[in-house]
Symmetry: D2
Subunit: 337 residues, 4 copies
């Protein structure tokens, strides 16, 4: 850490900072500048050290140097991680596509979608059974019945199942049915949930919170990795900004940034990221071009009858076309999709 003193900081204040640094088990190193003094604090990062130093008299600011996450970092593991579940492969040059309805609504619906997306080339099926909804008056999902239908769809098609888990106490139930646990954007910093899905041993699709920084996102992944579960996929699904012509703002620079920072694979969700069916295909194509390792796409046989998110769902026919466009890009870039 670098402790920047205020201009005019007294020698006594500087001595006090040096003392604080040494109390923290770190080594101090004073640098006398033309306008002000800077004190470097060297050694293993200590929890709370930054905060302790920030409160010192005469201190203007404290600047950390090390990235706060460890196990997710390319500094720890250089080769990219590939998450594999049944036929789904995400990462290390493989592009996997997860598709399906926002919510599981009925046996017919989920089986119809599952067949349609498999035929178009998806290798995993998404579908909500426990639905977090902004309003308590909205449809909350079919719950366990929905999980059973998802499992039936897997048996019928071979697709891996991805479904959202909302609470630690649901983890063991979901683990009986799903192949991949999805942690939703609203729960990105629900730490007891992150630990519980980590301990389930199932691969995890972790969605970025709509106002999470990259450090916060990677530290959320770290909660899962710390349980010993290495199969984490990071999912960019859009952030909240002042833009109002799309539901969220989808920042694709996340993809190359994470590839330079972490070994974990990166999936993009252009359905939530745009909130408009007409923008999903161009952004799916752009995601592949930006280097995404996977896509998660909402598909519904009849979007206008969907119980949730119809306005951002593709029809099976539109999804087929999206896949064809994406494959052109993947092929052009020498990737397997």
């Amino acid at each position: 850490m670098i402790v920047v003193m205020k201009p005019g900081a007294t020698q006594k204040q500087i001595d006090h900072v040096v003392e604080l640094i040494e109390d923290l088990g770190l080594k101090s190193h004073i640098i006398q500048g033309t306008d002000r003094t800077v004190v470097a604090a060297l050694g293993e990062k200590r929890d709370g050290a930054k905060q302790a130093l920030e409160t010192g008299d005469g201190v203007e600011k404290v600047m950390p140097i090390l990235a706060p996450y460890k196990m997710a970092s390319t500094e720890v593991k250089k080769e990219p991680t590939c998450v594999e579940v049944l036929k789904l492969k995400v990462g290390a040059g493989k592009i996997g596509v997860i598709a399906g309805p926002c919510s599981v609504e009925s046996r017919e619906q989920i089986l119809e979608v599952a067949r349609a997306v498999r035929e178009a080339g998806a290798t995993a099926l998404r579908g909500g059974a426990f639905k977090p909804r902004t309003s308590p008056y909205s449809f909350q999902g079919l719950k366990e019945k929905g999980l059973q239908l998802l499992a039936e769809a897997r048996d019928a098609t071979g697709l891996a199942i991805v479904t959202e888990v909302m609470a630690p106490e649901h983890v063991s139930l979901l683990a009986q049915y799903t192949d991949i646990m999805q942690v939703g954007a609203r729960n990105m910093q629900n730490y007891p949930l992150l630990e519980a899905v980590g301990e389930s041993g199932k691969p995890v699709l972790l969605k970025r919170g709509p106002s999470a920084t990259m450090d916060e996102f990677l530290l959320a992944a770290e909660y899962i990795l710390k349980t010993g579960n290495a199969n984490v996929m990071l999912c960019e699904r859009g952030i909240r900004t002042f833009e109002d012509h799309t539901r969220f703002t989808l920042p694709l620079a996340t993809v190359p940034y994470l590839h330079q920072t972490t070994h974990l694979p990166v999936v993009v969700d252009p359905s939530h990221g745009t909130g408009k069916a007409s923008l999903v295909t161009p952004m799916a194509v752009a995601s592949i071009a930006a280097g995404a390792d996977g896509l998660i796409i909402e598909v519904h046989p009849n979007p206008e009858k969907a119980m949730s998110d119809g306005y951002q769902s593709l029809t099976p026919a539109a999804f087929r076309e999206m896949m064809a466009e994406c494959r052109k890009i993947a092929t052009a870039l020498g990737k397997k999709m």
Copy 2:
């Protein structure tokens, strides 16, 4: 709802929208404008209706008319709600102050702070026992031991206890010790948690998520109110924006806006809202002037030794001065604090 058709929408498309509206059990009403047609859908709001209509061919957008929350609304209950717990009174003209450390660290620390803040005029004590931390490598709180210390501090001082609950499975444990359940900003949309704290029957301090809109905030409160628990305090603690000179951006217009919209009391947290001890007092004073029904303030006997959030904590002496400034404003406005 108002369904706006695209310019040049065909009669067939309009007829289809009318049919969709009637399928939803609503009445339709066509308005022919100079450039385009608009169809009003009248009747009780139906879940998913907006989404169903948005996917109609030829539809440009659908604009809802009713506020989505009900029990929180001043349309349902006109008189302001006052939440009372021991000596803490928040709302309906009464201003309550909750103060204390970010984390409970030791018996000495919590008792010292409790006494200091009570003397200065606080009527409730905050203190984290289960701490949600961005990094898994940070101090996570004293857990049950921390709760016992809080209870001891209440016995010693008469202050009501406010502490954060992180997971539904902790609710019954916390309910044995705390007077008020705090739901943190990261968990504002953790719906199983909202339901569990609602069912505990304890008053709830609900913090706004850093990227939550007012509708989302009020709908989160609605999850609690729906369990029959009417004692909800809404807490503005800052939102995430591009500003980087403060930890968050503290939008005080939230206070009068909520007073015009809901009967629930509004508490402001200038400690998290600014993230800088030197800004806490002016923003506390401004909050009272804006009409806040309460404040929640981080106070630590020795901020530079705090295990968390030291940089935004007031010393007991600074807190006393803050209270004196706030009281001047409350008195000038004819309020009781």
Copy 3:
């Protein structure tokens, strides 16, 4: 417009709104809902009408229906516009690339870059002569000398010249040298400047302001179009959000959204949009995949000696590789680049 009355609005308030609407030369149409009354105002949009109605007693909100821009809209002109200057073609299926240094620094520098980017396939040269700089203490550009060097580079290479204009009184000077006038992000709503560049008759590259909505962006273009100058290129260069791992957040959904809304071509600037050389190529490739009609890229022969923006500039070699990657995508999508 749709005027939504508050619940419980009186007949007198409704009558007053009807009267206001008719005073504005619009026709009114009352719709009686279950909870509240809505009044539609039909006819040509009148300036200030929305505001006048919003202040009516008993009015909750007023929702406009028509897009506020006209000449930029696909409702007015359906075929996409192609801007052509010398060999640069942008729009209607043609992809043009503008490249060059942030600032013109010397004769050698600009000629070297011009040759390098032409060889790699760029058809226009960017370079700042009048530089808007956040700090008055930063390098402000070579001014007229810079313009002369740009013109010399055009003569030597055949590249069209793009340079920024900062004030109406500079327009006639710039018009002697440049082929395309760039309006920078800071000046997107500098209306006297928009009118002056419009009247110059030169094609315009209009950059989006970092907090401009799509409506504001298109209305800024409208200021130029209204002068009779139809050659406007819209440039997405990133918006300001809470993200801090990139200089700005680059929202590529702008590209398909604008293609569905306006006939004007859309150029992307991944250099400013990311602020990091290592992210420029993936985002350039993604822009082409999203359908961009053009790119504008900062290239410097020696980024670490650049007088501005070195950290986001590509070397000529990196630019060549970027062009190769982009061409793969353009070819895969059947486009000419």
Copy 4:
């Protein structure tokens, strides 16, 4: 500046950074940490130095230490500046109130408002003559005629005149009529305009751009101060965020933050900052409590007939009440208003 090297940076890369630092005329100082090396660059800040260092091989990031503004800083001048024009006094313990309509519309309107606001205690009159409007189809102001009417209102009431200047070529015309030049939010980074108003010698009210950081805001002020014009008032008028229940988000922490950073006085504009007449008074009161040195408020005799911004304008009666509330706070805090 502190140059942080990547982990594993080679000795050659470190040597190169040291060389770059010395080429810039700065002194280097190497600090060997446990995980990585850090190089401090000491001496006067040199333009472009940060950027040059950021592009060095093996460099992870460069962290500046000094604030980039100088003349605005409390490091240069400790005593607060008070701007005085006729009876308006803003700063150094004096609170001044500027009030009036968004646009000058007619002789009757401006005289009526001027008298009303003077009676209620305002000491300056605002009113737009040259109006920057988002849409080219909106009312653009009465131009010189408007200026004449403002001057007439000053003669009749003694109020100082504040009006917006949109382009450098208008400065000399405006200087004949107005007492204070307002630079609008859209023009905060219009540098030729900042220099022109600075050179006019008139006091300046500089509005914060809706996505400007504090550093950018203060550097814009620096452009004016650098011309030798010391009479600059900084105006917080709201920033653009995801919030949609207010027109902008009004971050009052700006007030104490600027007071700790600069000697310039700080004015708040709750009319634009909220965009809703019903929120203006509580936020005006809160601004005074936060320490604002001035307010600028939109007042119109008949808001629903206003040609612009009617929805956020107070009636003269509401303005009188606002003044009474604000005075209570000012008195309680021992200030003169």
